[in-house]
């Protein structure tokens, strides 16, 4: 195995066994934010425990894979064919090592491709690097996450979304309602605005390479990202779609130019099994640095209570405009009338009450006398019975 091939295998190993620091911190803060003793809190804890177990035993956080994407930034004149070949060899070796499950088949014959290397798979994309550094990023998606992707064209009458930013917001929320818990939620949603069907989807897909806490440099888009994250976490879909506060860890949006009649909104999704990492390589193919900071120690916070938020007491008294003279006169008259009616009815009720009390008193006295009569009758009977028994004896 060449140095480049073994570096790429190491990249696959790192991406599939260890979540990068930003993702881990995102999951930890989601765990903290969930309500104590709730189902969603338990689920978030299981998700964190899964990473701890995987890291301890050097196992992939999930074996399920449906696509692997290498994004290469290389200086001009790089031998792209040999880079692609190295990526294919690395994927075959990773499959042999059990880092990736056997997932690839030939769609025509249905025959499984044992090494996960086939026509156009794994995908290797190239871009010209701004400097002479060789950087390779990797993204691995599972079946659920890939299937959760969606695309629509604005204006879209079926979801009442116009060709404007509120329309984009509506479309993304519609996608979330469709996704619910599929694709191992909570995750990150990548959104591509504009372009065409293919380029929009690629743009959305590329957003998943951004850091969890990253915001778009364009102010309007950054605001939309923030707004949508808030909206998403208010939907109540929660981890795995089983209810809770954390539906998403992040929203990443980017825009491309768009034809004036229609705007494509493309959505790509990646769940908490966020297998994404990157390396900068030396010219010999050795690993120089990791692009995404790694976590030295996966530690689940023991005290998981978030600081209670201070809530301002809400003023619930209804606010009214001052009364006009005419209104005041009418209202006061009405109040007076009600008061007099009340007092009259109260007087009547008290009079009735006195009568009723008298009636109950007489009833209780009569019942007392009747019980006394019964008792004497019973005594007489027993006497008679005793006499009879004595007579017989």
């Amino acid at each position: 195995m060449s140095a480049l091939e073994s570096s790429l295998l190491e990249l696959i190993r790192e991406a599939s066994t260890r979540l990068a620091d930003d993702v881990w911190q995102g999951l930890v803060s989601a765990y903290r934010s969930e309500t104590e003793d709730s189902r969603s809190k338990a689920i978030m804890r299981w998700i964190l425990e899964n990473q701890v177990t995987a890291a301890a035993e050097n196992l992939p956080i999930t074996p399920h894979t449906s696509s692997m994407h290498f994004h290469v930034e290389c200086p001009a004149g790089t031998d792209r064919a040999s880079l692609t070949e190295a990526a294919r060899v690395a994927v075959a070796n990773a499959t042999k090592d059990g880092l990736v499950s056997q997932y690839l088949v030939d769609p025509i014959s249905g025959k499984s491709l044992k090494t996960n290397v086939g026509v156009g798979m794994p995908q290797v994309h190239f871009a010209e690097a701004p400097s002479d550094a060789l950087r390779i990023r990797l993204l691995m998606k599972g079946n659920g996450a890939e299937g959760a992707g969606w695309q629509t064209v604005l204006p879209d009458v079926s979801i009442t979304a116009a060709f404007d930013l509120p329309g984009v917001r509506r479309a993304v929320l519609e996608a979330l309602i469709r996704i619910q818990g599929r694709g191992c939620g909570p995750g990150v949603i990548g959104v591509g605005i504009g372009g065409d069907r293919a380029s929009g989807m690629t743009l959305a897909h590329r957003q998943l390479f951004r850091g969890i806490g990253d915001r778009n440099s364009v102010r309007v888009i950054a605001q939309l990202e923030k707004q949508l994250l808030e909206d998403a976490n208010n939907l109540g879909i929660g981890p795995l779609g089983l209810g809770g506060k954390t539906t998403l860890l992040g929203v990443k949006i980017a825009a491309e130019s768009s034809p004036k009649e229609s705007c494509y909104v493309s959505i790509s999704y990646l769940g908490w099994t966020y297998r994404r990492q990157g390396v900068e390589l030396t010219p010999d193919g050795e690993i120089k640095t990791w692009i995404y900071p790694r976590t030295s120690n996966y530690e689940i916070p023991k005290v998981a209570t978030s600081a209670p938020k201070k809530v301002k007491p809400v003023d619930t008294t209804p606010k009214r405009r001052p009364r006009t003279a005419r209104e005041a006169l009418l209202e006061d008259a009405r109040d007076k009338a009600i008061r007099t009616v009340d007092s009259v009815s109260a007087a009547k009720a008290s009079a009735k009450g006195k009568k009723a009390k008298k009636a109950t008193k007489s009833a209780t006295s009569s019942s007392r006398s009747s019980t006394a009569a019964k008792k004497t009758a019973a005594k007489k009977k027993t006497k008679v019975a005793k006499k009879r028994t004595t007579g017989k004896g």
Binding site: T62, P63, S101, Q102, L173, I177, G181, R182, L240, G241
Partner: protein, 189 residues
């Protein structure tokens, strides 16, 4: 968290309600779409007994000598198998299916009719779920199928699951969908 021991009796299943967290202990059997189709075509599953649970999963394991050990056992989507779940209840007296993803009307009706449940476990969490497997009793049909497609008989302890559909005709996914739709309307877009 409710503890559930297998084999599960009808009254126990009736006590489980939608959204409840359950710690499962006992023997479960993994099944893949290929095996579902085999059952659908009239195939027999002699090792399944009344009150057992099926787990839709493709395990990743290793054979050491004669013994299998398990590295990872993440759930598969139950959604494509929706129409075939009832057959397991009818023919083998299975009391529940564990998986991930939404299930629709056919499973909802089957669970009500046969006092059974459908469960959701943590999607993707292969190593965590494998750590709850205490023993691999046997791997059935391994000679005919790929290891991940075979029927693995797993002895589990405190296996974490959530009730997705209960025997009273309630579905957690339907509830969450209703909540999220209502909240979407409240956003007043």
């Amino acid at each position: 968290m409710t503890a559930l021991e297998l084999p599960a009796a009808v009254p126990t299943m009736r006590e489980l309600h939608v959204g409840e967290q359950v710690a499962l202990t006992g023997t479960i059997f993994t099944m893949r779409p290929a095996v579902y189709e085999y059952v659908h075509d009239g195939g027999e599953m002699p090792f399944l007994s009344e009150g057992s649970l099926i787990y839709n999963a493709s395990p990743v394991g290793r054979k050491k000598g004669k013994k299998w050990t398990i590295d990872s056992v993440a759930p598969d989507h139950s959604t494509p198998l929706d129409s075939m779940i009832k057959e397991l209840f009818v023919r083998f007296g299975v009391r529940g299916v564990i998986g991930r993803g939404e299930l629709g009307k056919p499973s909802l009706e089957a669970c009500r009719q046969y006092t059974s449940c459908c469960f959701h476990t943590i999607a993707g969490a292969g190593p965590l779920l494998a750590s709850h497997v205490k023993n691999v009793n046997e791997v059935h049909a391994i000679e005919k199928l790929d290891p991940s497609d075979a029927v693995w008989e797993l002895e589990v302890e405190d296996f974490p699951i959530v009730v997705m559909i209960d025997s009273h005709g309630q579905s957690l996914h339907d509830m969450i969908r209703d909540v999220s739709n209502r909240r979407l309307l409240n956003l007043q877009l």
